[in-house]
Amino acid sequence: MSQPVLGAEGVAKSFGPVQVLFGVDFDVRPGEVHALMGENGAGKSTLMKILGGYQPPTAGTIRVNGQPVQFSGSGDAEALGIVLIHQEFNLAETMTVEENISLGREVRRGLFLDKKAMRERARAALAELNCPVDPNARVSGLAVSERQMVEIAKAVSRDVRVLIMDEPTAVLTGAETEVLFRLIRRLTAQGVGVVYISHKLDEVKAISDRVTVLRDGRHIATRPAAELSQDDIAQLMVGRDLSDMFPPKRELAPDAPVVLEVEGLTVPGWVENASFRLRRGEILGFAGLVGAGRSELIEGMLSLRHRTAGTIRRDGKPVRIRNVGDAAAHGIAYLTEDRKGKGLLVGKGLRPNLTLLALDRYGRFFIDERKEATVLERAVEEFDIRVKSMDALVGSLSGGNQQKLLLAKTMQVEPSILIVDEPTRGIDIGTKRQIYLFLHDLARRGASIIVISSEMPEIIGLSHRVVVMRSGVVTGTLSGDAIEEAEIVRYATGLKGGTKGVSNDAIVHA
């Protein structure tokens, strides 16, 4: 077995008084995919940031090709070919895709930048990822999945010997994940060592050679992937058995009233003439490939995007929703898919984030901070937010815990209709199950839920009915036994159902 190209020995890390890593050993060899697993807040991202030179370890040694090294910044690590794709996006939003991909390693011809070469390089990197983004587009205009692809393109377009990917697929769909895996296989074939972090056990099984599990900042096990089943990994991670992810579906009362009806909704450039109904106590799944316009449909409904047509009926009565506030007044709450850009104020504490959406519930005139604190404590418990201090800034939470906080925030308005967009993005398998239970329970108590998800099992396991979209058009609504993967894919790819999507013309003239 070849020598590890990158290794950590007894690495410990503290943030002030809080210790998050305790003497962790970890290494990666050339040409292998080493998966790093663990619950939210286990310390995976922190360990990777240490390996990538972004943060110094409090104790322990980092070795590159067996030699101990000390990074004074990510530049040092990158010079040695160690590249980290962050869990949180690290793109300069006001700049273009190409500028971001080239950032820090621009190509020059003489004094000036060789823009053509850089554009070509960016285009090639994106093409390899099958990513249709224009290199001249500004990052601020990209969707989260596209941003992730740009991050990956940025990383792999460097001279990479060790590629560390922190939950790259959290925002990707199945098809995109496939593309990424192809890329990973090509890289490993060239001898690149890959560290892969994910909460999706099937992916980990599929791609990795070895698996290391962390729990509460401690190294638990490192084993060949072939020796471990998905259940084994889950058990190592959470320390207990996780047999059934999804609670059994409850039959919907046949006379359950329609609580929300959307008809003929059009969001120029994104969604055309979309209609659906939601019944009381129902969990309605929305499936589709990336760009199908599911998020845009909901955002259009909530007037977060400009919509040109469509009626919305709440309990049979037409309602006007001009903003999120109106929606909340009608008992509708929306959990966005873009946690950092639209969901949370990363520079602020937990308390103001939690209550921001429903601040009017905390006192008529002055904010009742004590009540806020109590509610925060309750939310931390209820949603199992792993946080060392209630004063922490949201940006210092682990990705999964941010997601839990976002869910808690959304639930603050006590919605009777809850719309969740990629609700388990970045959430570990144990907590995922808790969230599924939570949603199930909510529906049982009479709330109605819309789940937009790119994770097929999630959609299938939770939904009473599934709306499938393609290119901005609802191509079918499945229920009962028809809810199974192959059938959904048929509708999502256009093999079945309506064929006419948002045409190019519609977009151009919009």
Partner: protein
């Protein structure tokens, strides 16, 4: 951007954060020590009252500016608005005297006009920023010119003076005191207190900070972004009007030079106080301290005769930098 400043903030938060919080107050204490060394008269109640009373104008305006800046905007028009509102107030009162006779009712009407004008000006700025989607910098640069020009026009290039019969009625609002404390100081304290309450304890304050730190998140959190921004500008207008209410009785006049560069002073007070120019994080008490510091520097320079008058500005500039350097320095070291 908010993201970028995060780890820093985190690091500081865990250990030295308190010092960042207390920095402006430390700098203020340093200045007071300096002042006392320069001239013992500095600590006389008379001088302290003078300083605080003078601070009141900029201070009250800066409290309003704290909200605008926190919500990610900026208002360059405050100085001109102060001049314009003063002018209109004076003209109104002068016009009312013949009919109503000099008296408190005329003063009250004058104040009402000032407040109305302040709110209206804030509304205009706010609407142009929110509905017109123009950068606050440009909008208020424009209105700055407009207000300044209007007061010049109103005064025919010269000075608008309050009717002398009204002057004696109105005078006590600036020169009078309650329990020995001059009214302007009291008003300043009340404005700061209410400002702090609004900033830290009400939804509006939270919303300002949320919008300043990430407008999208605010929108997705059911915040009526435009409305909050508009209100911040109107609050700023109101603060300017309150400053006018105590400014007019001081000299009883307004001219094209009234309030010149007040916008710069107000913004400087806000930033020295620790509010971030990029928005998202506002500190009302810091602003108060910042405003007092600026007046103190002037005062200390006037109390010493040691230095060439030509160099006053240099010393002023150096003190500002050093004061902030020390406060930031101490904060980051620990």
């Amino acid at each position: 951007m908010t993201q970028s400043s995060m780890p820093d903030a985190v690091r500081r938060r865990s250990s030295g954060f308190d010092l960042k919080l207390w920095g402006p107050f430390l700098a203020l204490a340093g200045l007071i020590v300096l002042g006392t060394l320069v001239n013992p008269v500095f600590l006389s109640p008379g001088n302290i009252f003078n300083v605080l009373t003078r601070t009141a104008f900029i201070g009250i305006i800066a409290v309003g500016a704290t909200f605008v800046i926190t919500s990610g905007g900026i208002d360059l028009s405050v100085g001109s608005l102060a001049a314009f509102a003063s002018g209109v107030t004076i003209v109104t009162m002068n016009a009312l005297v013949p009919a109503m006779g000099p008296g408190w009712h005329v003063v009250a009407l004058g104040m009402l006009v000032a407040v109305g004008l302040g709110l209206a000006a804030g509304l205009v700025n706010g609407v142009l920023v929110t509905k017109g989607r123009i950068e606050a910098f440009i909008v208020t640069l424009g209105t700055m010119g407009i207000f300044r020009s209007l007061v010049t026009y109103l005064a025919d290039g010269g000075t608008l003076s309050l009717d002398s019969s009204m002057r004696s009625v109105y005078r006590p609002v600036y020169y009078g005191s309650l329990f020995g404390i001059p009214y302007p100081i009291l008003l300043f304290a009340v404005v700061a207190l209410i400002g702090a309450l609004i900033m830290y304890r009400t939804r509006f304050g939270r919303y300002c900070a949320a919008i300043g730190s990430n407008e999208e998140v605010a929108r997705y959190s059911a915040i009526d972004v435009d409305r909050v921004k508009l209100l911040a500008f109107m609050l700023q207008g109101l603060c300017v009007a309150l400053a006018v209410v105590i400014y007019v009785p001081r000299l009883g006049s307004a001219s094209a030079t009234t309030g010149l560069l007040w916008e710069l002073e107000a913004i400087a007070a806000v930033i020295i106080g620790g509010t971030m120019l990029k928005g998202g994080y506002g500190r009302v008490w810091g602003t108060v301290v910042g405003a007092v510091m600026l007046t103190l520097i002037d005062n200390i320079l006037n109390l010493t005769g040691a230095i060439s008058v030509y160099l006053n500005g240099a010393i002023q500039g150096a003190i500002i930098i050093v004061a902030v350097l020390l406060q930031r320095g101490t904060a980051s070291k620990r």
